[in-house]
């Protein structure tokens, strides 16, 4: 198999990425793999600038789209501030909070690259604390539920399921208000 970047040399390494629970593989030759890991892990001083890193990442994402044959058939645009995804690719800056929703499919793998993670686990604003804490709790309970089912602890699982339903009910009522 030939390297996905240079398309000339034999594949020496396969990188596996997990994006939204979907495994994807990138096959690289030795040289391209070295260039790739250099770019993402070693920053020379004193010129290092996080925006360069971002630009590198944006390029890598582009390349990834190309190699995987993912074509952005039409220009995606933020429904609120009208920033296009291409504008973002050039500047590395988003335009408004709605951009995060409208570009989510593209941003999620990027965030994972940048932070090793794409889900917030930190502070929650006071105003929405109740709601978001419940959402977080539900997520955690759902994980526990799966584990319990795997372990065949059905009685425990039923309790957990009831708890989830109860919390979801509370949230729903709040949303209707």
């Amino acid at each position: 198999m030939l390297c996905q970047i240079c398309k000339k040399k034999e594949v020496a390494i396969t990188l596996t990425k997990i994006v939204e629970e979907q495994k994807t593989e990138i096959h690289l030759c030795k040289d391209c793999a070295a260039a790739f890991s250099d770019k993402f892990s070693i920053f020379p001083l004193p010129q290092f600038d996080i925006n360069d890193l971002l630009a590198d990442l944006l390029n890598a994402i582009d390349l990834y789209h190309k190699e995987e044959g993912i074509v952005l058939d039409k220009e995606i645009e933020c429904s609120n501030c009208h920033l296009t995804y291409n504008d973002f690719r050039k500047s590395g800056k988003l335009g408004c909070s709605v951009c995060y929703q409208d570009f989510r499919d593209q941003l999620t793998p990027l965030l994972r690259r940048l932070h090793g993670n794409s889900e917030h686990l930190g502070k929650i604003p006071q105003q929405s604390k109740g709601k978001f804490n419940k959402i977080r709790k539900i997520k955690q309970l759902k994980k526990e539920l799966q584990e319990l089912i795997l372990k065949e602890e059905y009685e425990q699982a039923a309790n957990t399921r009831d708890e989830i339903l109860k919390l979801e009910g509370v949230l729903k009522k709040k949303n209707e208000k």
Partner: protein
């Protein structure tokens, strides 16, 4: 609210608490800092906002400063009203970023308190960049303080926040907690044995960034390094701080070890270097900022190792700010060409360290 010239006059004469040379591990750690990026829901991020929207954000910051007792002794400056020199002076003071000083959109602001521990950049790339600085290694204390300030500001507005990505920011490198924590280290011993690059390589691999004295994209001078977290999403604030503190502890213990070795094996050479630095600084008539930073670092090293007992660390930390080009010109009360800056700088240093 006080007018601009009074605010700047006071600022010229006052010095920031983080330069005091006190706090935990102050022989290596100059200061700790936490910055939170926050945006107002419903308004595009500052570079993409309309003039009226930028004005709304600025007025909101004015309202917060005027109405909340937490900001009783704080000032608010509108950068549009400042000259390029005055804006650069705020950069030299570490109150705003270089980007904030040079950006073109209107209604950029800077809030800061008397101790210069708290500052808020208004309409930088995010609507609010709240930062808190203290001397020495004390990230946990800073987090407690800045967390409260963040809550106070939130009482007056609604933050742009999503359940998945957390606090939403103009650049995806800040999203999530919106938190950048950093520690400013003085590492002369590691620099002396060329040990810095290895450490930098190692820590950058695990998600930390090192920058120069004035932050992003700036040069390293005076052996001062700022180590900060790169990851802002997927970890809690406490975890980010805890990890960063551990990384810094490791660098600090390496520096301590090399210092010990140097003292044991080359004490005379060290003493020679320190006293030579003192000699030049206390008698030079013309000095560039690069040379001054280098020699001040040597002298500071001497004080940290107790080779020399004066001037104190606070004086030296403060000097490192005072000798910056814009600060010097503010003190002189006029624009100075490079040659006259070098004259002025030498005089200022002589006055401060031999006094």
């Amino acid at each position: 609210m006080k007018n601009k010239s009074i605010i700047l006059k006071n600022l010229k004469e006052s010095s920031a608490e983080w330069t005091s040379g006190q706090g935990p591990l102050s022989d290596i750690v100059i200061s700790s800092r936490i910055r939170l990026a926050r945006n107002v829901e419903g308004i595009p991020f500052s570079p993409r906002a309309e003039q009226a929207e930028l004005k709304n954000v600025f007025e909101l910051s004015r309202q917060i400063v005027e109405e909340d007792s937490l900001f009783r002794d704080s000032n608010l400056l509108l950068l549009d009203e400042l000259s390029p020199l005055e804006s650069q002076f705020l950069v030299d003071k570490h109150l705003i970023s270089i980007y904030h000083a040079r950006e073109k959109h209107p209604y950029r602001g800077c809030v800061f308190n008397q101790r210069e521990t708290l500052s808020i950049m208004v309409n930088e790339e995010d609507h609010f960049r709240i930062q808190y600085l203290l001397p020495g290694l004390q990230l946990n204390n800073i987090w407690k303080l800045i967390n409260k300030i963040d809550d106070k500001i939130e009482k007056k507005t609604t933050y742009a926040f999503s359940e998945k990505e957390g606090y939403l920011t103009s650049c995806p490198t800040n999203v999530g907690t919106g938190m950048r924590a950093s520690v400013m280290l003085h590492l002369p011993a590691l620099a002396m044995i060329n040990g810095i690059n290895d450490i930098l390589k190692a820590i950058s691999k695990i998600g930390y960034v090192v920058r120069g004295f004035y932050g992003e994209g700036t040069e390293v001078m005076g052996n001062l390094f700022q180590v900060s977290n790169q990851i802002t999403l997927g970890l809690s604030e406490e975890e980010i701080i805890d990890n960063l503190e551990k990384v810094n502890q490791q660098i600090i213990s390496k520096e301590q070890k090399v210092r010990k070795d140097l003292l044991a094996n080359s004490k005379s050479q060290l003493e020679d270097q320190v006293w030579r630095a003192y000699g030049i600084l206390s008698s030079a008539r013309i000095i560039s900022s690069t040379e001054a930073m280098e020699l001040l670092s040597k002298l500071k090293f001497g004080v940290e190792l107790e080779i020399i007992t004066y001037p104190d660390l606070g004086t030296l930390n403060k000097l490192m700010l005072l000798i910056q080009p814009a600060y010097l010109q503010m003190l002189a009360g006029k624009d100075l060409d490079p040659f006259n800056r070098d004259l002025q700088r030498a005089a200022l240093i002589r006055n401060k360290i031999s006094g």
